[in-house]
Subunit: 428 residues, 2 copies
């Protein structure tokens, strides 16, 4: 069976089992289009679509891959997603020979990944950020209120979340300008305005939604999973000093809305299915609307967790990339199904391409904390880098890189990287 692309190295994050979706521009054409990635090759799905290779699938003539974003594809729903993935797999493993046997088509559709420019994969309608790591909520609560009062009484009942800013979600590689804002020193009468001094990252993952639900018609735990298209890495950059002064009583605002970085490739849930695992045992049973009626074997009533290894590296002027945190998506108290069901339980409508992020993914051990605030424990335990440099928070010129992957038997499903470099504040 001829294959259109040579075998993918076993250490690639993008084997045939992954086939993530992204949006890119080619060196020779300005118009963004949808692609997938196999090894070091980007497959131009607009070209395959024009060649009619999806016409006999449920996608028909929808031309979802000619668009500048994944939204239209996300809108089509699970039947189309499954059909597209099956067709792509067949075309790329050669069992459907129409790509492998057509030299012109191969030449037109396959592009070396170094020659493309990745774009925002999705036009995000609404962005929501949850707070689903109990370890993170406990750590932050402990710092500010002591361990006795660390968790709010609603924490184990509600997948707490808040609305974020969609306009400032940017793709990996976009530099992040240090924000300015109001802060007030503890002893001061009045606040001052100036560059953030406590700039932080937050290690998160997020998922994009499918067709969604009409306003007033909530999803349920039994149908919410079908609305989850796929996942990305998320860095929810945070200005801790701005947040502290502004966040009462209506929550974080400018402390979060200056930038949120996502990885380029959206990994479909079908690629992640082999890595489903049981979610942590809840402290008490959730309310009925947050329980599945008939969970599959091995899955708790709250739905699946996923075993996704996560790693955060910090690169400074003096230091090569240095791993400062190792965590895992499975540590979350609330599942994606519960987040999505809860979000719509008020009647709130989801649209294709909405982004729901997890909140900081801290694990149970200090090495697995997902923010500088926790890793350096509010500045009391600075992170020591190989050069001898220390960090309590991020400095100008620092580059933060997140990676995530699922380790299979002889293969690895990766998310690429979620990268950003801190630029000096405008008036610094």
């Amino acid at each position: 069976m001829a294959r259109p692309i040579p075998d993918v190295p076993s250490d690639s994050e993008f084997p045939l089992q992954n086939l993530p979706y992204g949006v890119f521009t080619r060196p020779d054409e300005e118009t963004p289009r949808v692609g997938t990635r196999l090894g070091d090759t980007v497959v131009d799905l607009k070209v395959l679509e024009h060649a009619g290779l999806f016409r006999d699938t449920p996608l028909g003539e929808t031309h979802v891959f000619c668009k500048r974003s994944l939204n239209k594809f996300m809108q089509t729903g699970r039947t189309c997603w499954d059909a597209a993935r099956a067709r792509l797999t067949a075309l790329l493993d050669g069992s459907d020979a129409r790509l492998a046997d057509d030299a012109d088509l191969r030449k037109a559709a396959l592009v070396d990944c170094d020659r493309v420019t990745m774009q925002m994969p999705v036009e995000i309608g609404d962005y929501t950020d949850f707070y689903s790591s109990k370890h993170h909520a406990f750590n932050v609560g402990t710092m500010f209120r002591g361990p006795q009062n660390a968790l709010m009484p609603n924490y184990t009942w509600i997948p707490v979340g808040y609305h974020g800013r969609a306009s400032s979600v940017v793709p990996s590689g976009t530099p992040v300008r240090r924000p300015c804002g109001q802060t007030r020193a503890d002893e001061a009468e009045a606040p001052t305005f100036g560059p953030c001094r406590l700039l932080d990252f937050e290690l998160e993952m997020g998922f994009f939604t499918g067709p969604g639900n009409p306003l007033g018609a909530p999803l349920t735990m039994d149908n919410a999973a079908d609305q989850i298209f796929g996942m990305v890495l998320v860095n929810d950059w945070s200005a801790r000093d701005i947040q502290k002064w502004e966040y009462v009583p209506l929550g974080p605002f400018l402390a979060k809305n200056f930038a949120t970085t996502i990885s380029h490739w959206v990994v479909p849930m079908a690629a992640l299915a082999p890595f489903r695992c049981a979610a942590p045992e809840p402290d008490h049973p959730p309310l009925d609307y947050l329980r599945q009626s008939d969970p599959p074997e091995g899955c708790g009533p709250g739905g699946w967790a996923y075993d996704i290894e996560l790693e955060v590296s910090l690169q400074t002027a003096e230091d090569d990339p240095f791993v400062i945190s190792r965590s895992n998506f499975r540590h979350l108290y609330w599942t994606m199904q519960q987040q999505l069901t809860h979000h719509t339980s008020s009647g709130c409508n989801m649209r294709a391409g909405d982004l729901l992020a997890s909140g900081t993914i801290s694990g149970p051990t200090p090495e697995s904390f997902g923010s500088m605030l926790e890793l350096a424990w509010r500045g009391t335990k600075p992170i020591r880098l190989p050069s001898g440099a220390e960090r309590k928070f991020l400095q100008d010129g620092d580059t933060l890189v997140m990676r995530g992957w699922c380790q299979g038997d002889g293969y690895r499903i990766g998310f690429g990287e979620c990268r950003g470099t801190v630029l000096a504040a405008l008036d610094a």
Copy 2:
């Protein structure tokens, strides 16, 4: 000078001085298009645009009025907005005779307002809700923390706001389903899930943004006003019992995201200019970034307030519409310029068609409070209706109508109405 439309009655909310923008469908065509309104006539701007009547303005061939939303027009910026308004005024007062003298064009472009269906005027990218009435913040704070601790220490420094949900912003007339959610009685161990019992309205106004600013490049008090396109009425429906249990520590979420209603017609700032007035004296000077460098005469450093009278009516099964609140937009502590400048001060980017709402507009007196929570003072002073019925919060079947207008000398600039009827919860 012939006019294309007979003189507008002096009590009309839509005289020649208004010329708001909206999006509508005609009885004979499904495609939404942009219109303005004069008296009881809707003027189809797509038709005027096709007839070439904007070609010699800075709008040129942009075809902004053929779109399904005002976003493209908002994107063009103040020079184009001013030119469009000047041209429209001339066409409608007859000083430019090309519409008045062309019977076919008049027939094609002018539609009776009863024959059109109004649509969402804008595709809202991001929706932000502020908290800019000090009276409202004080009232709510007093109820929950007593008058001594009513205002948070940041209130007079920060135009406090939070990110809202854009997907559930709906046009006037859309019924609003009572949301379900988690609530917990004060004495209870665990929360329960069910229909909201304390459903409320919030009397607000909002403005839409123009071209905006790139990420990382804040607006300033000296250029922010040019980014404000126009205003609408806003009802920020609120589920008080859900809010109380969910809102710590990240702010309101499901208590607000089930629906936000806006009025159909966006009144341009040019129409509101005659009604500018001084903003209330601040408790102390704001920080420099929230002050204009050279305010015009009569305008404080924080920018203009606007004298817009506001009225809320409640209609029940037993009662005709009954006015329950009379307020005024000028009561706000923070101006729109300050809200917008503050919002971008972190580097957050605005896009054309973002909606920034004021927060509940409560005035200083009990009659001018902008929510049931305040009018009935947390249920302790029920609102008595003419039929003898009482209301502490909204009941199923209740219709809430907001109106707003500027009273000029012999004319009135109105916003139409912002209306919604409460439907029973799904599982009620």
